[in-house]
């Protein structure tokens, strides 16, 4: 049985934040969930995917976040408790659906999970999705800890059903990827089948309907505000005339700092966990009791701006600060040290910052950036495209996935990236205003996610570039989730169909389509050269299963290579491929047989044919 289905009420388990949220959702009777994988939310979906295979929970990996939100919204509009799960930038993709779903609302509980990523541990930006609550008018809740995250899911469903609209549950990486003991609660029964009650005059958003729905949404914001005023997730701790207003993980750093600074009698803390709408009256009352207030929130001054406006309305002149030079930054994530020092400075408390060792005589430690795996087919494709494009002035738009790592030297095969699917759209623009040959890269899962409309656009507007679809048979970057091109037999799952990328590309009207097997270096280079010469839109589909995934499926026959005495140290292998299986011993290149999977790319490019299979040596 899946560990998150355990019925042992009251038992304590160490759970990852994402597992705790999954458990909270299961306890709340979640019956339907849809997602597109994205760090830091991926393990939440993975757990629900696993649970769905041994229960009547419905779960799907949808093609993108907008689709996931729509899928879940329909279930919720049929009275079924549903969840749409995505990373922060995924909400951008889903935003079109979200804004008007806020008008239509739901009949069953619906929670939209937005996993934000301050510091961009694994994201292209660190946008603060609290503004989506304000923009849509939907209630928002934010946990400060793993334990609270589990409890809050159930509360979010209750609020959703009380107001008949979705609730945004906003986490940050340090919630999703923290681990703490969590007490198991009772699992409510799931209601998996719903009834959709037709009501076109409140569910079909033609202008005349929407004008009424907007009125309803504004009334709902007032109702939500009343709930926020008395929510257990907005609370005050401590006493004194100094005040701190904080949210999310910042609350932990504040609470620890106030304790460390022995300031609990001088500084009181208002922790905001129900953060849209903000509890206006509660905040005004808090401000009235304070001489000065500090706002501690990672990201944008979301609360700070609102609190300053509340103070103005209440006629209060006390200093309120947060984001400011020499105080808190809008950049990156906070930590206990930063928060403690800023609290001490702001409230005039003596505190010595932690003494970090003098690092001036410590030599630079060589960087250890993530690298494409040994035997990664992307490395082979990048090498082949690079060789095929020799002599051409190129622009290489890339996309989001493991292959983004191709931007690192020595491959250096990435020039432009803004978001999922942007490789295709930007290729259209680049090729129109530059004389360079544009060659762009997109992974299979990303192609399904948001590459297809760009390609349709390219064919229709008759653009001129080559799109390389890196088809490794999985969503590798986020942990090998399926996508529509995957054969679900690999997961021992039935009742799925498989969408062929090649057929899709041809059906879109791409006239020059080439399939390559990137482990065959010479053949690939030749085929890619022909595709690059084509005037118009050409597509290369480079097919080879992700090595990590193949290992996981036990399909990888590892047959390592070694470097024989024939080697004269040209080092083309290391310098052009930078495969992590290579290492330098003295002056000689060697291959780590444990890492080498035997893709044989290096063997094919070695000028002396010095790289040979280990098996042949014996």
């Amino acid at each position: 049985m899946h560990k998150l289905l355990k019925q042992d009420i009251g038992e304590k388990m160490m759970l990852l934040g994402n597992e705790a949220i999954a458990r909270g959702a299961i306890e709340a009777g979640l019956a339907f969930a849809a997602t597109y994988p994205g760090t830091p939310s991926s393990e939440l979906s993975l757990n629900l995917f696993q649970i769905s295979q041994e229960s009547d929970l419905y779960f799907e990996y949808s093609t993108n976040e907008k689709v996931a939100l729509e899928v879940a919204a329909a279930a919720a509009n049929s009275g079924v408790r549903s969840m749409a799960i995505m990373k922060h930038v995924g909400v951008n993709v889903a935003a079109d659906a979200l804004m008007t779903l806020a008008y239509v609302g739901v009949t069953g509980g619906m929670v939209v999970l937005s996993a934000d990523d301050p510091f961009m541990f694994s994201s292209q930006n660190e946008q603060d999705n609290r503004y989506y609550a304000k923009l849509s008018g939907l209630p928002m809740m934010e946990p400060s800890s793993v334990e609270e995250a589990k409890e809050m899911v159930a509360k979010a469903f209750e609020v959703s059903e009380a107001l008949n609209e979705p609730v945004i549950l906003r986490t940050t990486t340090r919630i999703n990827h923290s681990t703490a003991p969590v007490t198991l609660g009772e699992i409510k029964p799931r209601v998996t089948q719903g009834i959709f009650e037709k009501d076109p005059f409140s569910k079909v958003t033609v202008p005349a309907v929407s004008r009424n729905l907007h009125v309803k949404l504004l009334e709902n914001i007032d109702k939500a505000k009343a709930l926020a005023e008395k929510s257990e997730y907005n609370f005050i701790e401590g006493t004194g005339s100094g005040g701190i207003i904080c949210n999310g993980v910042s609350y932990n750093y504040v609470a620890d700092a106030v304790k460390d600074l022995n300031a609990a009698k001088n500084i009181k803390i208002l922790r905001i966990g129900f953060s849209y709408p903000l509890p206006e009256q509660m905040i005004k009352n808090f401000l009235k009791d304070c001489d000065q207030v500090l706002i501690v929130e990672e990201g944008e001054p979301y609360m700070e701006e609102a609190v300053k406006a509340f103070a103005q309305e209440a006629g209060l002149m006390l200093p309120i600060n947060g984001k400011k030079k020499d105080l808190f930054s809008r950049l990156y994530e906070y930590n206990p040290g930063i928060v403690r020092q800023n609290i001490a400075t702001y409230f005039g408390i003596d505190s010595t910052p932690a003494a970090i060792p003098d690092m001036s005589d410590v030599p630079d430690v060589p960087m250890r950036p993530p690298n494409l795996c040994a035997g990664c087919s992307h490395r082979a494709t990048f090498y082949a495209v690079k060789k095929a494009a020799e002599g051409l002035d190129t622009i290489y738009p890339t996309d989001i996935g493991c292959y983004t790592l191709g931007f690192l030297p020595p491959l250096s095969m990435a020039d432009f990236l803004i978001c999922m699917g942007s490789s295709v759209g930007t290729s259209c623009g680049f090729s129109k205003v530059n004389t360079n040959k544009v060659v762009s890269f997109i992974g299979d899962s990303t192609f399904f996610h948001s590459g297809i409309p760009g390609l349709v656009n390219a064919v229709f507007n008759n653009h001129n570039f080559t799109l390389v679809i890196l088809d490794n048979g999985t969503t590798a970057m986020t942990g090998h989730q399926p996508h529509p091109g995957v054969n679900m037999d690999d997961f021992n799952l039935k009742d799925y169909k498989q969408v062929s990328i090649e057929k899709l590309v041809r059906a879109i009207g791409v006239e020059h389509v080439t399939l390559v097997k990137p482990y065959k270096v010479k053949k690939s280079i030749q085929a890619i050269k022909e595709a690059l010469e084509y005037q118009g839109v050409s597509v290369i589909i480079s097919e080879e299963m992700c090595t990590l995934y193949a290992k996981g499926l036990k399909r990888l026959k590892q047959r390592p290579f070694y470097i024989s005495d024939k080697c004269t140290n040209h080092r083309e292998c290391v310098n052009e491929l930078a495969c992590p299986a290579f290492f330098i011993e003295g002056t000689k290149v060697n291959i780590d047989a444990d890492q080498c999977v035997g893709c044989a790319i290096c063997a094919q490019i070695c000028p002396e044919n010095a790289i040979l299979p280990v098996k042949a040596k014996a």
């Binding site: 800890s145 793993v146 750093y253 206990p336 932690a354 992590p580």
Partner: protein, 196 residues
């Protein structure tokens, strides 16, 4: 109970997350409050994996620079890189078997001299325990048990508020049965190595 802050740094694949999970479970077994956070940095693609574990009464799950009581490094250059997490009273435990990053192979960096690395860490912290955890793991019969060797050393120094038995119980719950015997042996070898 005093709060104790532990940072573990490793390279993807060295088993840091399992080690953290064993420590978390051990704390749960011993009734010690515990919270931790991890940053994977694309662990499976050779990046750095960092875990922060806070034992005792604290709400934070991360550890600021200069605030770790113990630094446990699975790879010597990564231990050195994380030295800014330490203060003058920090105890550092490091594996001495290097795993040079591929940037060294392509000439984009020089791997630090291992003797100098140890001298530097020693001079800036309370105490350094350096051991070849790979050799000890091999001796235990499982080259992948580097993490359990280092856990043994970590428990020997006696800073964390639970016992070797608590950790062994957690190992039984958290590690694969087939490896339990070699894991326990690895743990004991690491424990003895730290005792000197």
């Amino acid at each position: 109970m005093d709060t104790k802050r532990l940072i573990i740094v490793a390279v993807g694949g060295q088993g840091n997350l399992l080690a953290s999970s064993v420590l978390g479970e051990a704390a749960l077994v011993a009734g010690v409050p515990v919270r931790m956070s991890e940053i994977h940095g694309m662990a499976q693609r050779g990046g750095v994996v960092e875990s922060a574990i806070v034992f005792g009464e604290a709400k934070s799950t991360i550890i600021a620079d200069g605030e770790a009581d113990v630094l446990l490094g699975f790879e010597p250059s990564e231990t050195l890189r994380a030295l800014n997490k330490c203060h003058a009273g920090t105890v550092v435990i490091t594996n001495t078997a290097p795993l040079p990053p591929f940037t060294v192979a392509i000439g984009k960096g020089v791997y630090p001299d291992l003797d100098q690395l140890q001298d530097l860490i020693q001079s800036k912290t309370e105490r350094l325990i350096a051991l070849d955890a790979v050799a000890l793991a091999k001796e235990a019969g499982n080259v992948l048990a580097v993490n359990m060797v280092l856990l043994g050393s970590l428990i020997q120094i006696g800073i964390l508020p639970f016992s070797a038995d608590d950790v062994k119980t957690a190992m039984q719950n958290k590690t694969k049965k087939a490896f339990l015997a070699s894991n326990l042996k690895a743990f004991d070898l690491g424990y003895q190595a730290a005792a000197g």
